[in-house]
């Protein structure tokens, strides 16, 4: 009889420990995805702050490229006004901005003075840095999201996930050309 009680107690303790650790792991994984998203968010804001400087620097050298510059400004403002809780739309807008930034950097090839400008070189490194950080943070977000989604969809996590309302996280789509050569390089 004593043995029977001990076994029951051990089983209950085991189940509770298992429950707690599974729950905590799921919370931890979800926090990882949120953390990765906040990394992206920080970099998006930083890039938005850098773009006015870039435009004013480029303007001084390339007066006839008004269209390219206006497009960048338009894309940037669109991203600034967008509420960041819609992750998919934010990333889509961000990808468009990345594309239009590429065309600004391409200008440096036709304007040697611009390419030699110290301020422009510095901005180029800063923007390359934010672009890469966005790409890497997105990669981190997606791998964290995969981990989290696996946890809440496989047994026995799915039971806990149902009981505590853990929602599946949607992946951030990678732009097509980045799948071939993943990182942006403005060099």
């Amino acid at each position: 009889m004593l043995w029977f009680i001990i076994i029951i107690i051990l089983l209950v303790v085991g189940a509770v420990v298992f429950y707690i650790s599974t729950y905590n792991n799921m919370v931890k994984s979800r926090n990882w995805t949120d953390e990765a998203w906040s990394q992206i968010d920080v970099q998006l804001k930083r890039r938005n702050d850098l773009i006015p400087n870039l435009v004013s620097t480029v303007k001084g050298y390339a007066k006839h490229e008004q269209d390219t510059l206006e497009k960048v400004i338009k894309m940037r403002n669109q991203l600034v006004e967008m509420p960041t809780d819609n992750r998919q739309a934010t990333m889509a807008a961000s990808n468009q901005l990345t594309d239009s930034l590429k065309s600004v950097f391409a200008l440096s090839e036709s304007y040697p003075d611009l390419k030699a400008d110290a301020e422009f070189t510095k901005l180029m490194e800063e923007l390359t840095n934010t672009e890469n950080k966005i790409a890497y943070a997105r990669q981190l977000f997606n791998s964290s999201a995969t981990r989290y989604n696996n946890q809440i969809q496989t047994f026995p996590g799915n039971i806990l996930a149902g009981a505590h309302n853990f929602q599946k996280v949607a992946y951030l789509e990678t732009p097509v050309e980045e799948k071939v050569a993943p990182k942006v390089s403005f060099e």
Partner: protein, 299 residues
């Protein structure tokens, strides 16, 4: 494929580490047998020495290793913005804290990581690597180094370094004592007979071959870990070509001057280009670059 490689590597590492510890204890036992007539006390002394050494190395390894390799710390993005930003990127995607960053003034391209755990880690690159590699290639190299940090290879190398130091210290003590005629008295030897002679010969052999075995073990550890760091580095950048190009550039360059011989195993590629020991692959700290590139191409 990558997962199995990691598992295989972890298993091999465990074997080598066990062998390493056993070697330290065996040398301790040999010393005990020779000079204290007692295997156990020798083993205890060796174990205590190893523990003290490891505690010392683990506490302060980064500063020691950086000083040995003439590395200078940089504290922000001002001097080498691209390097600083790439280290930030790789630390972020590998989910480790930002390591300390060092520069070694040497025209030969190379890099290494060291430290005890991801919270106390450092990466160092040479000025040569900054001059010759483009951003993509540098990313491949830094991803490799950050993988060493994330996989705890840096701690493994630190422990291996400490154990090798303990072994060479024990052997030094032993050979000094033998030279000055310490140890067992002659009449005892005569009484105990043939089994004693075998024990004596075996102990002395162990003292001679110990350091050799230690460096073979250290190099074997390092060789395995290089493949693993290449593979997990590519997992971070998703771009094998960057690392391939970097390795090619590093392979086709002159040997380093600032590197310290005992930390050769830490570097991404043998800093001495195998010049010190031609032909003896058992002592290579790194797998051949062609093999590493072939593995990367297959990914």
């Amino acid at each position: 494929m990558l997962f199995e490689q990691i598992q295989e590597n972890k298993r091999k590492t465990v074997y080598v580490m066990i062998g390493f510890f056993a070697l330290v204890l065996a040398i301790g036992a040999a010393l005990g047998y020779l000079f204290m007539r007692n295997l156990i006390s020798g083993v205890v002394v060796a174990a205590i020495l190893a523990a003290i050494y490891m505690a010392m190395m683990i506490g302060n390894s980064t500063n020691v290793v950086m000083q040995m390799n003439h590395a200078i710390e940089i504290h922000d993005a001002r001097e080498y913005p691209d390097l600083w930003h790439i280290v930030e990127d790789m630390a972020m995607v590998a989910h480790v804290p930002m390591p300390r960053v060092f520069i070694v003034d040497d025209p030969s391209p190379n890099a290494f990581a060291t430290g005890n755990d991801p919270e106390h880690a450092a990466v160092a690159v040479t000025t040569g690597i900054m001059a010759r590699l483009n951003r993509e290639e540098l990313e491949g190299v830094i991803a490799h180094e950050v993988s060493h940090i994330r996989n705890y290879d840096i701690r493994l190398q630190t422990i291996a370094l400490a154990l090798s130091a303990v072994i060479s210290m024990l052997v030094n003590i032993g050979s000094n004592m033998l030279w000055w005629g310490g140890g067992r008295s002659r009449d005892n030897d005569r009484e105990e007979g043939a089994s004693n002679v075998i024990g004596l010969v075996f102990s002395i052999l162990l003292l001679i071959l110990g350091p050799l075995a230690a460096s073979i073990a250290q190099m074997a550890l390092s060789r395995n870990r290089e493949y693993l760091a290449d593979a997990s580095g590519v997992e971070l950048t998703r771009n094998p070509q960057g690392l391939i190009n970097a390795l090619l550039k590093i392979a086709n360059s002159e040997p380093m001057q600032a590197a310290d011989p005992s930390s050769a195993a830490l570097y991404i590629s043998d800093p001495f280009k195998g010049l010190s020991r031609p032909g003896a692959h058992l002592f290579d700290s790194h797998p051949p670059i062609e093999d590493r590139i072939a593995k990367l191409r297959a990914m």
